[in-house]
Symmetry: C2
Subunit: 354 residues, 2 copies
């Protein structure tokens, strides 16, 4: 897999993304927001939400699923809440706006809840909760996606989306960051197993007949469904996530057949100033992280990791060494660049060769 | 187990609880709140938080861990947030107050966050989110308890409490109710296995050497720790719960050794009126619940259940048939009644014999 995998500077990837999105009709600020969102995901090691999405986003634009330059509009607002309509545009633009508004309202009122509806792919949910944490607050994020792919606990059939959840908080070391799908694995991981014709290490899916299965083709060829993580507890969490980020915000729910847009989110920001105070909060979260990290490891583990730690380490490292991009992904991005008539050589002039 | 298990009317249990708590110094309104909290838990089938707690609460009062008649005080407040100090009293009194304030503030401002610190056992977290849901809103609840009993993912050693989480929403059928510990099982379930000298069905704990174990005595006799549910995802959620309901609200965190009180909670209320609207919300949640329930069952299941459904069914049934109370629990309650010099016969006059 590593053979021939190019490692590319984050700044080069950023420029590529900007050029591509401008070429399909995004104004500069939008191209910057979207490209930066993807590159930040790669820096964090979350490649499923990284530049591999560039060609897909271009396809979405061509198919009319994403409208470049869409107007982002606040359609409903109170002093503490807002619903933002993304106008069918790039989810990252509305998502960024929502994070900013959430922080600003929480600064004035201690707490806020801001929703985004009617957008394309929102990117990495953790981007928005991290933004809130970087502003000294606790951020909660809930996301519904249009595609039902997960079975309820005890059921067979696709009823829930992967319904990601994210919670972030500031510390003096690195931000605490919970950011995951409520399915047992992200669908991308199942797809990799499918493409390499490997069984999954444990049952990740239930087949169409309702039997646990380790064969990914039961999902892709025969109507199986992903399992929620952690049995009924993960299932309950997935439902709660969709109630908060789908139904409450007016987007509906995926298995209804009339869910609006590709993604919808709800962000909640809580300002420690109206609770324990900012300094004490950051100090205590830092101590709390230390307490976890000082736990002696269990059998089979080298150390105890804290949510957000790997992402932070990855970013620190990749800012220096560059972002590894898989051959196939890289080939597809280059094809997209060429198809759009962009100057490949100029854009790649900063790329480190494999 | 069922042999000789008495079934007792909810109203009788309520009266017993009221009499007991008044006898240890609670004013009438407090005795009613606490007793009703316990009986409601039994009605919902959550017996771990039911009348079995009566003798323990009496002990807590004797040991000075719970102060009857404690003054519940708002120590910090904004238009959307509050911190309530329970004065070291019964957690249910401060918890009830917090739910009422959360609803009232969310009615005026769309969203609110209310914390409770410095109390005894808070009871069933779902009681408070349910109250919010019964008022037409979405309720989120997070709880930290003083006892570290759960290992971080990949670690050995007790660092986290069972860190319960609850999310509730109204529907026209029954309220959606997620309400669980973020440990793989509640500690009470592990204790039952220990007392009956049975192994657990899968590894619920890690022993002091960091090996997965199905032997409950590794927890009770040799310093093992409970596992979080769902691997690293449940661990991350447990940390988020303690950050929100321990650190943010000023109670600290359990493994610091200086956590304040027995329980602390954070409640968040969201009013659908400022989002999709109340009627649409309740209607869509109801449809969503139907969509889950209509999923054909997987192998080994008879039906798909929705979080909150079993609790609702249990309550409907037990209001008619009475609450089954385990022999040992019942014996302990009767002993408590007698010790307090209460009129056993009068209190029991309504009890249905076994």
């Amino acid at each position: 897999m590593v053979f021939g995998m190019p490692t590319i500077k984050a700044s080069t990837l950023l420029n590529i993304g900007i050029a591509v999105f401008e070429a399909v009709g995004s104004p500069r600020y939008e191209a910057e927001i979207v490209s930066s969102s993807l590159v930040e995901a790669d820096l964090a090691g979350v490649h499923s939400h990284g530049v591999m999405r560039i060609p897909y986003y271009v396809e979405h634009v061509r198919e009319g699923l994403i409208k470049p330059g869409a107007r982002v509009e606040i359609v409903r607002e109170t002093s503490t809440t807002a619903i933002i309509d993304g106008g069918g545009g790039f989810g990252q633009v509305a998502g960024r706006r929502a994070s900013e508004i959430a922080v600003s309202k929480a600064l004035s009122h201690g707490i806020s809840a801001v929703a985004v509806v009617n957008t394309g792919h929102i990117g990495r949910l953790g981007e928005y909760t991290l933004y809130i944490a970087e502003n000294g607050m606790v951020g909660l994020g809930f996301c519904t996606t249009y595609r039902a792919s997960v079975a309820p606990y005890g059921g067979r059939g696709r009823r829930l989306s992967t319904a990601p959840i994210s919670i972030a908080a500031p510390s003096s070391r690195f931000p605490f960051l919970l950011d995951y799908a409520t399915s047992i694995v992200a669908e991308g991981k199942l797809r990799l197993k499918y493409l390499s014709r490997e069984p999954t290490p444990e049952a990740w899916i239930v087949d169409a007949q309702g039997r646990l299965s380790m064969d990914p083709s039961d999902f892709y060829e025969r109507g199986g469904a992903l399992l929620p993580f952690g049995g009924y507890k993960g299932y309950a969490l997935a439902m709660a996530v969709e109630i908060l980020s789908g139904i409450l915000v007016g987007a509906g729910f995926p298995c209804s057949g009339c869910y609006k847009g590709m993604n919808s989110i709800l962000l909640i920001a809580l300002d420690p100033s109206v609770f324990v105070g900012r300094d004490v909060f950051v100090n205590d979260v830092s101590k709390y992280i230390e307490a976890m990290k000082s736990t002696p490891p269990a059998e089979g583990f080298l150390e105890v990791l804290v949510p957000g730690e790997l992402e932070y380490r990855s970013r620190e490292e990749k800012l220096k060494t560059g972002v590894p991009v898989e051959d196939e992904v890289w080939a597809r991005i280059r094809r997209t660049i060429v198809e759009l008539g962009l100057d490949l050589d100029r854009l790649l002039s900063e790329a480190t060769p494999p």
